[in-house]
């Protein structure tokens, strides 16, 4: 593992009006790490991701990526990052070929390297037969595959995945999980956000748990297990202060009476 962190987040804070959603976040992430970034809804997870990907340009604190300051050099940093957004927005009147060609060109990639890579990736993801079909007829899983390809098309150093498995079938899930491991072996850094605790448990070698804008747990799954509980799900619920097990379900059951 490299000594120099690829992503350094120092005292990162973010306000929406008067509400503070990130409270002095400080994280160092090293090359080759697979970070499992988890937290309840509204904890500040997607805000962190949006800041890292340059979608939210206003924040206080410092974010250094590969030695560059995000506030000063957002375009150079974006070139290093691949991003698969959660909400699966896509221009669906285009074909995968057209869409990926467009995304590749925005990264400054040139023909014929680009179109060759697009064809190879699309085929590898099992969409070879649909490469020239418009995506408005695609299933959710097929669109998700195109989004995944768009996220890695520029061979990024850092890959930020926000619920990347949504809509994928079991085989595609295995493919993506294996892909994450392979990419991390190649030295890529992966930032994996999800609510699926079992997947996070398996793919990530470091878990960050955020709650109310603060990191409340940071470590490997093994170390968290020793300190707290047996499964990531239990750790999660313990640390995010869910009420004693049974209280909520009692309330639900009682509602029928």
């Amino acid at each position: 593992m490299n000594d120099q962190p690829i992503i350094q987040i120092k005292n990162l804070s973010k306000f929406y009006d008067s509400k503070q959603v990130l409270k002095n976040l400080s994280i160092d992430i090293f090359p080759g790490q697979v970070i499992g970034y988890i937290g309840p809804n509204g904890a500040g997870k997607s805000t962190t991701v949006k800041i890292l990907t340059g979608l939210i340009p206003e924040f206080t604190g410092e974010v250094i990526v590969d030695g560059m300051n995000l506030a000063e050099n957002p375009q150079e940093i974006k070139k290093l990052i691949g991003y698969v957004p959660e909400n699966a927005e896509i221009y669906d009147v285009l074909t995968p070929m057209e869409y990926l060609d467009f995304i590749g060109k925005l990264y400054g990639m040139q023909e014929p390297v680009l179109s060759e890579r697009v064809v190879k990736l699309v085929t590898a993801f099992g969409l070879g037969a649909n490469i020239n079909d418009r995506m408005d007829t695609f299933s959710k899983g097929m669109k998700q595959k195109v989004l995944l390809i768009a996220g890695i098309i520029n061979n990024p150093k850092i890959l930020i995945l926000d619920e990347p498995l949504s809509g994928l079938d079991a085989n595609a899930v295995i493919l993506v999980k294996e892909l994450i491991t392979r990419l991390s072996k190649e030295g890529k850094t992966i930032f994996y956000c999800s609510h699926m605790m079992d997947v996070v448990e398996k793919v990530s070698d470091r878990i960050l748990l955020i709650n109310k804008g603060e990191i409340i747990a940071d470590g490997t799954f093994e170390s968290l297990k020793q300190n707290y509980s047996d499964t990531l799900e239990q750790i999660f619920s313990k640390l995010t202060g869910r009420e004693e097990s049974g209280v909520e379900t009692d309330a639900i059951i009682n509602a029928f009476e």
């Binding site: 959603v21 340059g54 974006k78 221009y91 057209e98 995304i103 925005l106």
Partner: protein
């Protein structure tokens, strides 16, 4: 066409590069945006007619624009008095442009998906802003050229060949001014109101626009004589100097009719040339920066983090619902129809104009006739039975609601009906029908009747009630034969199929016959009163029939 436009933009590359725009990325974004535009059905001319396939041939849409341009071009021949013809032409030109922009602006030109597709890529803000600006300009130039083409040719017959290049300049001027005005409205709105309200307001602007155009089309020729228009002195009123079309027309006037001009015309022509340029500079420098940020909030939806705890207040309509639809399933049908109808934009867009069309149609027919003054026509109208005609016109509203009530862009949410244990879906339909009548039709009829009482006096009450019962029979027949879908449960349809068209004509014919029968018996007041009873009875029988609809009769849409 697109390739040509892109090449033209390419000519600006050296200049753009100096300002920090990445030309290659700009080219790519524009190319893909134009491609997306071409694969999307155009809104203005197709919304009411064929929304058929996903592939709307843009040729047809463009052709319609050219035809429109020809019709407008005819106005240019009104040229014996200064400014009149050209002012009219450019007024319509600008309204059409603004309408196109407004109906397409939110969805196409401000594509919120950009926030997730383009923003995370290494593209700088200036490139994105420039791409958006050029996209709007190209989009509108394309339409402006088609719309202006007939005018550009026709002007040669009026002012000679040299007028062509000048007219071309005028068309550009009009286009820029339209873009500018629409932009200003948008900038101001988005600064003042919340994103959600913003979309609603745009929706209402669109509705008002389509009503206005409809009204102008039907009423202006009735109320104003063409020959008086020809002799209007545009500059005799001071406020006309504030109208942008007058500025544009002045340019032609100043150059080709130098004999009849004065200082004002020249001044206006100069204003017309300067205003668009300074205006666009103002928009780009002063208003645009905050705009993009606001837009980011709209699309990332983080802006509404301040959750307010709203408690639902039951209003009189809830009580009304419980009163007229006490059955639980009926009540559900009633409320879902009322609430979705009030909150679904495309439903409002299609149905609300119908409310205004009725009085407009009525005035159109009432003031039909030549050689009389408006006062004479009003006098004559007061002493005949045209009012009966007016009440029957309200069926137009009813049919417009019924035709749209079972359709929605988000029809897939209707899966909920199919999974619930509803053994008599007719009850939902019954609730829906009651909601339509009670929430929309009845209040509307009340307003119309009040207007009628005011004009024709209290003796019309029995006619109003009878006509109302006949209208609801019409509604009931429509519902029974045409509306077999649960509220908002079907994809927005192209057109009624052939069989349905025939049925709807038969129903219309029947009601028209009843209406004429009504006019015929209108002089026997007591007969009118008496007839109300059997009509109510027929309504009641049919309504019970409607309520008994089973799942077999309901048209289901594929929900996957």
């Amino acid at each position: 066409m697109d390739k040509l436009l892109l090449k033209l933009v390419g000519l600006l590359n050296p200049l753009l590069e100096k300002t920090g725009v990445d030309v290659m990325q700009l080219h790519e974004i524009l190319r893909i945006k134009l491609l997306i535009d071409n694969r999307r059905p155009k809104a203005v001319f197709t919304s009411r007619k064929a929304k058929s396939g996903k592939v709307q041939s843009s040729f047809l849409a463009n052709f319609l624009i050219v035809v429109m341009g020809c019709v407008m071009g005819a106005l240019l021949f009104i040229s014996n008095k200064p400014l009149v013809g050209q002012t009219l032409y450019f007024s319509i030109f600008m309204v059409m442009m603004a309408l196109t922009l407004i109906s397409d602006f939110t969805s196409v030109l401000i594509d919120t998906r950009d926030q997730f597709i383009i923003a995370p890529r290494p593209v700088n803000d200036r490139t994105v802003a420039m791409a958006r600006f050029l996209h709007i300009t190209l989009y509108i130039t394309r339409i402006a050229l088609y719309q202006g083409l007939p005018g550009i040719l026709l002007i040669a017959f009026i002012d000679g060949l040299p007028a062509i290049p000048l007219f071309f300049l005028q068309v550009i001027e009009a286009t820029l001014l339209s873009v500018l005005l629409v932009n200003l409205v948008y900038f101001i709105l988005i600064k003042l109101v919340s994103p959600q309200k913003f979309k609603d307001i745009i929706n209402y602007i669109q509705i008002t626009f389509s009503i206005t155009i409809f009204a102008i089309y039907y009423l202006v020729p009735r109320l104003i004589n063409i020959s008086t228009i020809k002799n209007v002195d545009v500059l005799s009123h001071k406020w006309t100097c504030l109208l942008p079309p007058v500025w544009i027309a002045s340019l032609n006037e100043a150059i080709f009719h130098a004999g009849r001009i004065n200082f004002t015309v020249i001044a206006l022509a100069v204003i017309g040339l300067i205003f668009p340029i300074t205006g666009i500079w103002f928009v780009a420098k002063v208003l645009a920066p905050g705009f993009n940020r606001k837009l980011a909030i709209v699309s990332t939806a983080d802006g509404d983090s301040g959750v307010t705890n709203k408690t639902y207040k039951t209003d009189f309509r809830d009580k009304l619902a419980n009163l007229v639809a006490p059955d639980a399933i009926e009540n559900a049908g009633f409320k879902i129809t009322w609430k979705l109808a009030a909150r679904t934009r495309e439903f409002k867009m299609k149905v609300f104009p119908a409310f205004a069309y009725v009085p407009i149609y009525f005035l159109y027919f009432a003031f039909n006739g030549k050689g009389e003054t408006i006062a004479d026509k009003y006098e004559r109208m007061q002493h005949n039975t045209t009012y009966i005609f007016l009440i029957y016109l309200t069926t137009f509203v009813l049919s417009s609601i019924l035709q749209n009530v079972s359709q929605s862009a988000k029809y897939k949410s209707a899966w909920v009906y199919y999974t619930l244990p509803i053994d008599q879906p007719g009850k939902i339909l019954a609730g829906m029908y009651k909601a339509i009548i009670v929430i929309y039709f009845l209040p509307y009829c009340l307003i119309i009747s009040m207007a009628m009482l005011f004009i024709w006096g209290p003796s019309t009450i029995n006619d109003v009630i009878l006509a109302f019962t006949v209208s609801t029979i019409y509604g009931m027949l429509m519902a029974l034969f045409m509306v077999k879908g649960l509220p908002f449960s079907k994809p927005i349809m192209v057109k009624a199929g052939g069989g349905k068209m025939i049925i709807s004509f038969v129903i219309l014919g029947l009601v028209a016959a009843l209406g004429f029968g009504h006019v015929f018996i209108a002089k026997w007041e007591n007969v009118v009163w008496l007839l109300i009873i059997p009509m109510l009875l027929i309504n009641w029988i049919m309504f019970n029939q409607y309520k008994k609809q089973t799942w077999d009769a309901i048209e289901l849409a594929d929900v996957d």
